[in-house]
């Protein structure tokens, strides 16, 4: 058992890009697993909300990969890392729960399309998904590495074409239990 630092939108779907909210507010499937496994929940800020606002477009990693957004993410990452460090100093296990497919919050799957830009028009589907971290997770990862803090990752998978509730739950449980707590 330990502390799960979760993506903002997992407790607040109102932060999602338009047409992206899967439920009214709290995404309970993730919360339920964390609580059943005895983990504390701590919410991270949404990197995209404060930077690009509620009226932002759906975007891929390349569109957010600017010096200004990275500076913003580093500021957030430093704030979050302070809380993580406080937990780690107490010997608590830390897991980051991100959002797979997100350009900011993906933990092992982000989104990529080097050609995307200009007037927004693209077909349904998620062909842009690719292996890798979102930009905020990348910056947080770097900050935690700098501080020598170990952590594991898990991801909410609703945006993926392969999403399955049972599989998502099982994967999260496996990550939470991997520390032996």
């Amino acid at each position: 058992m330990g502390v799960a630092f979760v993506a903002h939108c997992l407790l607040n779907q109102n932060s999602k890009v338009r047409e992206g909210a899967h439920c009214a507010g709290v995404y309970s499937p993730i919360v339920d697993v964390l609580r059943a496994e005895g983990w504390r929940i701590e919410q991270m800020p949404c990197p995209e909300l404060a930077f690009a606002g509620l009226n932002r477009f759906w975007a891929v990693r390349e569109q957010y990969d600017t010096a200004a957004f990275r500076r913003h993410c580093r500021r957030l990452a430093t704030a979050v890392a302070g809380a993580i460090a406080a937990r780690a100093e107490q010997g608590e296990d830390v897991v980051l729960v991100g959002v797979q497919g997100s350009p900011s919050m993906g933990v092992t799957i982000t989104s990529s399309d080097p050609e995307r830009g200009g007037r927004p028009a693209w077909p349904e589907g998620t062909p842009e998904h690719t292996s890798g971290e979102g930009i905020f997770v990348e910056e947080l990862h770097a900050e935690l590495d700098r501080r020598g803090i170990a952590f594991r990752v898990a991801g909410e998978t609703h945006a993926l074409a392969t999403h399955d509730d049972d599989d998502q739950r099982a994967r999260l449980q496996a990550v939470l239990r991997a520390g032996g707590g």
Partner: protein, 121 residues
């Protein structure tokens, strides 16, 4: 694709997100009522850890507020009022609930957010 958001957000003290055994589970009440949650830093964090987190909370509240989302405050957190003021946002209607029924009644009594009216229009 639809969008299920409620346009309702609660700033919630940590003790209602991670309740002690037998204490009020505010997160469960808020989830059932369809409110999103913005968790406030644990009271155990020193000011140098909590302050930058509160700055980010306040900036996000400011963005939601400009778009007509509803806000409430469940519990409290030292430094929150100052952070909200720095972002130009007023402290929302607040409650320190003693029971799920009290919190549920408080949430139900909140007015329809302007953003809901705009979305329907």
């Amino acid at each position: 694709m639809g969008d299920e958001r409620s346009f309702r957000v609660a700033l919630v003290a940590d003790r209602f997100v991670n309740p002690a055994p037998g204490a009020l589970d505010g997160l469960a009440v808020l989830a059932a009522a369809g409110w999103g949650v913005m968790q406030l830093p644990d009271d155990a964090y020193p000011a140098e850890v909590a302050r930058p987190l509160l700055v980010e909370v306040a900036e996000q509240v400011e963005e939601f507020s400009r778009h007509g989302y509803a806000f409430v405050l469940v519990g409290d957190r030292a430094g929150l009022e100052e952070a909200l003021a720095a972002a130009g946002v007023a402290v929302p209607p607040r409650i320190a609930p003693a029971s799920a029924a009290e919190l549920g009644g408080f949430l139900a009594a909140q007015p329809v957010p302007p953003a809901v009216t705009a979305a329907r229009g």
